[in-house]
């Protein structure tokens, strides 16, 4: 038995491969050999079927069978190339042996994995900053909603939230907390080197993605300068594997449902009549101090048991078993110097609410390769088109919220069987358009066409000197059209006055975006001896974006037959244009000594059109060091210790996401009438501020990377502290200045935290297990704000407040602290004054101790924290023979949500339907409900005051554990011409464990810094899917 390690070089990249080559049987053979052998997966020798085996010199090709065995004719001295998706290719020179057994190592493993970083790539072992990578192969099967979904749970400190269940909606991504109070917290997305901005849009087909890197610390993101503060998501699209030609076809089909356990339960018809009766009677009992007579009760709810109808409006708008389908066809051609990937996709998702859906056609062509030794080219183009039927879903006046509070005693259809367009008005209950009628008759449609193109030319000027020039462009067309016919009543009207017919209205908006950039990069990696490795990068980049809008609206249509603006009697239109541009010079040097001491430094000097004339340019330096302790001579050579690296980084980044013309003062239109004719008028709309500049973040990161047992266990631990200052905030200024706010670079926010990830891979017999867990603790703290009492308040008196206060975390929920429910007048008299409160009203804390709880914000205090103590995710993947199983769990612990909608769904006036739990409300001192002392207990029915104000009453703990995705796959036996086939089933949003009473604990309907406000959003469905993948 002869064992040998072979180092190979592959694909022009300096990739170090470690393969084990087993050479058995050293008999001599003639020139042409029949080579046989077996290909197995590294580590546990599981046979790999479908591996392409090719003779490099003459392109003879075969693939391995189910047992991983192959047979091929080759001459001595030629090379066999073994390639398999997800594995590092191997190359073996044919010697005298006729048997070649090869073990392929999984691609994502180990220190030699090449990681995409800003403007380049690095080997995992050389990385000295905080970079997480997401391997597509580690993610279980799930509906491909979009890129943002793929990242969920895959990296510590990267919190991805599905804030609602709208089809085609992007998820929210936050990297290392919320760093800014004024300029947004979305990361920068870079696709194939093109820095697109804070969103990729909804139109990228996730099936085209090869890998995703997430840059978290300043050393990694400073190269993106004034857009790096919130982290960077680097997306690389698929390229063909060299030598491989394949045609992949995949189809997924699934159904979506809102699980019964995640539906909000409200009273049914008879229960609501009973509730209204009790409200009516309780009012007489309290205000008139007598027992009501039955004939006093209005006939509409005098005898609740005689209620004729009971409609669950929420259930009526649900689309049960809403289907989604996803088809992808990918042709990958890796033969010859020019390689290409062509992919075609169609995705369609029906929403969990009727008449809402999203579909997307996508086409991508990635072509590239070496023309000769001197020039390499690449050109990626993606063309997509999507259509979305939407509805308004946030708040009590929109579809979802309104179904909870509409009168359940009303029927869907009238006596003739026609659908009733308007519901409400019985016994003073608020009226709403019938939501089913509305969904069927209102048009709200968005169409998006997107073209994304990147091309580059790379010249190898000298052996180690390369110049790369690339052009990136994005064209985006976004059209929104809305028509509300005259048959739709007013959203909220008491009595009959909201009932249709109303004036029909229409609007249409179109946005055309062009964003292009040009990058010129020079890389130089001189050979300076065996112990030294150094490379330089210098570059220049310019980018410009221009968006043009045209919008029209109209109303008063002769009929509802032609839903376009041309038919409107009254019309108006508007057009505008915005743009920005940036220029930047970048430089970077990486140096390592004996692969042991690592150093990297980068610099970006960036100018932006968005900033004041005095501060057009900013500098963004960063440096990082790494120390691979395990390479040190003094370290004992433990067999279990594969690698140990400590690293530290520091750097400065910026956030330029502050609007395009904020530093300038403009005139706004404010016309008047003179001589009974229009007279043009103008007023100044803001102060000019020529000193405005970007927000700066200074971040320090300390990390440790540990690999044990030959990469079986990898651990990454990270500590960071990010200080954001010079935030661009609208500060309140005295109104006597003429303005109420002015933008200024002020304030300071700290985010610090700890991230930990452990990945454990074990192969036991035929079972492969991957267990991956990550957890992140982020703490935000506001260090300074210049403003009123150093605090900024967001929200409203009846809708919940968030406060930004010095010394406190971002966005603390703010309102009255609830001490209980007043039982009697005596209790009220003994307590600090609460103007107008009667028994059944909530007792609030007199926070300022002046003897009165005033009806404003003065007695309000912090009542909740929307920032989780920690977030975590766990992936368990098990392969057994032909089966593969993957489950993703995510969780967030100890955070609060202000359930704003309950101010309406628990409105005790009897004008709205109420939640099931209203049955347990306070009614009288004798009948105070089961737990009146509980924070979330519901007060009495008799008076509007001291019940719906922002208070602790509406604050719920939303800690959760969510089984986000489960998938189970099975590899089918090989059929001729099909090199591999796989089927799977998956469940997305499978099981949610939480005490939060709303549909979705990831809900957040205001901005990042006003977290945890739930005013009822589009519910998040559970998706059950089956699919198949065929490889030809």
């Amino acid at each position: 038995m002869n064992e040998k390690n072979v180092q190979t070089s592959y694909g022009g990249r300096q990739i170090l491969l470690l393969i084990t080559l087993l050479l058995l049987n050293t008999l001599a053979f003639p020139q042409d050999l029949r080579i046989t052998g077996k290909v197995t997966s590294g580590g546990n020798n599981t046979p790999l079927s479908g591996v392409t085996v090719k003779v490099k010199q003459n392109q003879t090709t075969t693939t391995t069978n189910d047992e991983g065995a192959f047979g091929i004719n080759a001459s001595r001295g030629t090379s066999l190339v073994f390639t398999y998706v997800g594995y590092t290719p191997a190359e073996v020179v044919v010697g005298s042996s006729a048997v070649i057994n090869v073990r392929l190592e999984a691609l994502d493993k180990g220190l030699d994995e090449v990681v995409v970083v800003g403007y380049g790539t690095r080997r995992r072992r050389d990385i000295t900053s905080a970079v997480s990578t997401v391997n597509m192969s580690d993610i279980g099967e799930q509906p491909s909603r979009g890129i943002t979904q793929l990242i969920q749970g895959q990296a510590p400190g990267v919190v991805v939230k599905q804030k609602d269940g709208r089809p085609g909606a992007e998820f929210e991504v936050r990297i290392r907390g919320i760093a800014s109070l004024g300029a947004g917290s979305e990361p920068l997305y870079v696709i194939d080197g093109f820095a697109m901005g804070t969103s990729t849009g909804v139109n990228i087909n996730p099936n085209d993605i090869e890998s995703i890197s997430i840059l978290k610390d300043a050393a990694a993101t400073a190269i993106y300068g004034a857009r790096g503060s919130n982290g960077v998501v680097l997306i690389t699209t698929k390229n063909a594997k060299e030598g491989q030609t394949s045609l992949n076809f995949s189809v997924d089909y699934g159904v979506q449902n809102i699980p019964k356990s995640r539906r909000v339960t409200v009273l049914n018809g008879p229960e609501f009549a009973q509730f209204k009766k009790e409200v009516f009677e309780d009012a007489i009992r309290y205000f008139q101090r007598r027992e009501p007579r039955i004939e006093e009760v209005p006939i509409g709810f005098r005898y609740p048991e005689q209620t004729r109808y009971s409609t669950n409006w929420f259930n009526e708008i649900l689309h049960n078993n809403a289907p989604y389908t996803d088809y992808n066809l990918t042709l990958s051609s890796g033969k010859g110097p020019i390689r290409s990937v062509l992919s075609l996709g169609y995705y369609k998702e029906e929403g969990a609410i009727i008449k809402t859906n999203y579909d997307r056609f996508s086409l991508r062509a990635n072509i590239g390769g070496a023309i000769n030794k001197f020039i390499t080219v690449g050109w990626n183009t993606a063309v997509t088109y999507s259509r979305q039927n939407l509805t308004n879903t946030d708040g009590r006046n929109a579809i979802v919220g309104s179904t909870l509070i509409m009168d359940p005693r009303e029927p869907m259809y009238d006596s003739t069987g026609a659908m009733r367009p308007y519901i409400g008005g019985l016994d003073g209950v608020f009226g709403y358009p019938n939501p089913v009628f509305l969904l069927n008759n209102v048009t709200r449609r968005r169409n998006i066409a997107d073209v994304l193109s990147n091309g580059f030319l790379e010249f190898t000027l000298l052996k180690n000197l390369k110049f790369r020039s690339s052009i990136n462009a994005r064209l985006n067309y976004n059209n929104y059209r809305e028509f509300i016919p005259s048959t739709i009543g007013a959203l909220l009207g008491s009595g009959l006055s909201g009932a249709p017919p109303r004036i029909a209205t229409a609007q249409e908006n179109t946005e055309n975006l062009i964003n292009y950039s040009a990058d010129q990069l020079l890389t130089f990696a001189p050979d300076i001896g065996e112990n030294h490795r150094i490379d330089f990068l210098a570059g220049f980049t310019a980018q410009e974006e221009i968006v043009k809008f045209i919008a029209g609206s109209g109303n008063t249509f002769p009929d509802d037959l032609v839903p376009y603006l041309g038919a409107a009697i009254l019309r108006s239109s508007n057009s505008s244009e915005v743009g920005w541009s940036l220029l930047a010079y970048i430089g970077r040097v990486n140096y390592s000594y004996k692969d042991k001491y690592l150093f990297s430094a980068s610099m970006r000097r960036e100018g932006s059109s968005r900033f004041g004339a005095k501060n057009k340019y900013g500098d963004f330096p960063a440096a990082s060091i790494g120390w691979r302790v395990s390479e040190e001579k003094f370290m004992p050579r433990f067999a279990w210790l594969t690698d140990l690296k400590f690293r530290a980084s520091i750097g400065r980044t910026g956030n330029n996401n502050i609007g395009n013309y904020s530093s300038l003062s403009f005139l706004g239109t404010n016309n008047y009438i003179l001589g009974n004719a229009i007279a043009a008028g103008k007023i100044v709309t803001s102060f000019a501020n020529s000193a405005l500049e970007w927000e700066k973040s200074d971040q320090v990161d300390l990390g440790m990377d540990l690999s044990l047992f030959n990469n079986k266990v990898t651990v990454t631990a990270e500590y960071y502290r990010k200080l954001t200052n010079d935030m661009l905030l609208p500060i309140s200024i005295p109104a006597v200045s003429g303005f109420t706010t002015s933008l200024a670079n002020i304030g300071e926010v700290e985010n610090k935290g700890f991230e930990f990830a452990i990945d454990y891979r074990e192969k036991a017999g035929q079972v492969n297990i991957r267990n991956s867990f990550n957890i992140a603790f982020n703490r935000s703290k506001i260090l300074a704000i210049k403003g009123p009492n150093d605090a900024l308040y967001y929200g409203s008196f009846y809708g919940g407040y968030n406060v930004q206060k010095v010394g406190r975390p971002i966005g603390m929920i703010y309102g009255y602290k609830k001490l209980g429910i007043f039982n009697t007048q005596e209790e009220i008299d003994k307590s600090p004054k609460q103007d107008g409160v009667i028994p059944g009203g909530m007792k609030f804390l007199d926070a300022d101790g002046n003897g009165e709880v005033t009806y404003d914000t003065k007695d309000m205090v912090e009542i909740g924290n929307p920032n989780p103590e920690f977030t975590w995710a766990h992936t368990l993947a098990v392969d057994y023979k032909k089966f593969d199983f993957n489950v993703l769990l995510i969780g967030a612990q100890n955070f609060d949500i202000y359930r704003n909608i309950e101010a309406s769904t628990m409105n005790m006036d009897g004008v709205f339907n109420v939640l099931d739990k209203a049955k347990d409300r306070w009614r009288s001192p004798q009948n105070p409900g089961s737990n009146p002392g509980h924070k979330n207990s519901q007060g009495g029915t008799n008076y509007f005051k001291w019940s719906r104000e922002s208070s602790e009453r509406y604050v719920y703990d939303a800690s959760y554990m969510w089984v986000k995705n489960i998938s189970l796959g099975y590899a089918l036996p090989r059929i001729k011409n099909i090199s591999s086939a796989r089927v799977f089933v998956s469940v997305t949003n499978a099981f949610l464990f939480t005490n939060y009473p709303g549909n979705n604990p990831d809900v957040s309907q205001r901005t990042s810094i006003e977290g945890g406000n739930d005013d009822e959003a589009y519910p998040v469905p559970r998706t059950i899917a089956i699919g198949a993948k065929l490889n030809f």
Binding site: S497, A542, S609, L664, Y672, L674, G675, I733, A735
Partner: protein, 500 residues
Amino acid sequence: MKHQITIGILIICLTAVSCSKEFLNRTDPTRIGTELFFKNQVQVDQAVNGVYGQLQGITNSAYIFKEMMSDNTTFDLNPLDRGGAAGWEAFEFSTVNPGNGEISALWNNYYSAMYNVNNTLGRLPASTITDASKKEIEAELKFLRAFLYFDLVRYFGDVVLVTKTLETPDEAFTLLRAPQAQVYTQIETDLKDAIASMPAKHPAAKVGRATKGAAISLLGSVYLTQKKYAEAVSTLNGILSLGYALLPSYADVFNPARKNSVESVFEIQYQGGNDLGEQSNFMYLFAPRLSGAAITGYANINPIGRNIPTNDMIAAYEPGDLRKDVSLKTGYTRNNVFVPIPFVNKYNHPHTIAGRTDNNWPVIRYADVLLMLAEAINEATGPTAEALGYLNQVRARAGLAPLAGLDKAAFRTRVLQERRVELAFENHRWFDLKRTKTPAELAAFMNAYGAKEKANPTVARGGVAFNALDYVYTEHEYFLPIPAAQILINAQLQQNPGYL
């Protein structure tokens, strides 16, 4: 050789993009930068028009402070929606606290308009317009400044006095409240300048801009408010020769077809019936909530039901007063049922597009000037025949018999009563009550009114009980509170006494 070519390409690529210095200088193509404006006559005129435009916004909500706060009007309470309880309802019930949103909007709107007045005044010298034009524009802007400050000083007492453009927001923190006397001095100075340089009449295309007559009337009112009666008389006499007269019919005064009539001294301009966005909608604010199309003529917009004439107001008309039926109605008929909720009818005229009425808002009219003159003469020299003549001139048009034989005190009472009915719902009542009563008298007067409303509400309240603090007037409510937000922003700003 090959490499040299490439390096050449490289250099071209680098320089091609980096040369353009202008690449980073962008401005909003859809708006005009402040620095480029205020240069010529057209631009200066637009800047002045912009301030007039802001007066529309101020006027749209003025009834809350000037009428609903008084004994003239109340509102049609919606027992199902008390969302306004912390806002505009508080002005009827005298429960206004510093956190009130309407107060904040009021303060912000006035000072926003003030900024534009001061800013344009400050940029005038550098403009290329003629000296004569400069003088006239300057006079007009000073009138507008006086107009704004006269309201502010009556609402709040001492107010922040700004007469120049601030260059940076920081300067605003140093500005504190100036004593009323100083504010009045500024108002008088501005108005005297305005009177000296404003035209008595504008050409037809500019009708609607303030005139000399408006400045004289405003200054007269300023003197009257300060009880400078002799100055008031001499100032107001100046208007008699300017050609104003009462229209024969009271109803015509409010008719959109008779805008800017010979009786009109200063009115806020609106225009309905088109898409210009310059319409008024007072009728929709004032019609009872459930009146549907019965009053406005359009069913698809819900009226708001504010500024409802009180029982007290309705009873104030003498029998036979022709003005009563023009100014208000005691109810409306819907679906053949008479609903006895009164409403303001002055601004109710047919209009062609729902929600867009054509009614101007009268600010100063000749009847007001005559009554001010009568009042000033009575206070300065007693109930002379001249004073009585002015009073009776107004009464005569209303179909009422002339008054005679009044002593000074009786005349004072009669002229105030006449003002109440003649100028009903034209935003005079609260300030008339304030200037003719001491804080203690005003509190007693308003408490008496409140007791009547509590005992017998003008509009049925749908079972909603009064709050204990409703209609409890105290002396400090003579002035409105400074908005709490402003004191939060600048702690140096003092709150009015009596407010927390």
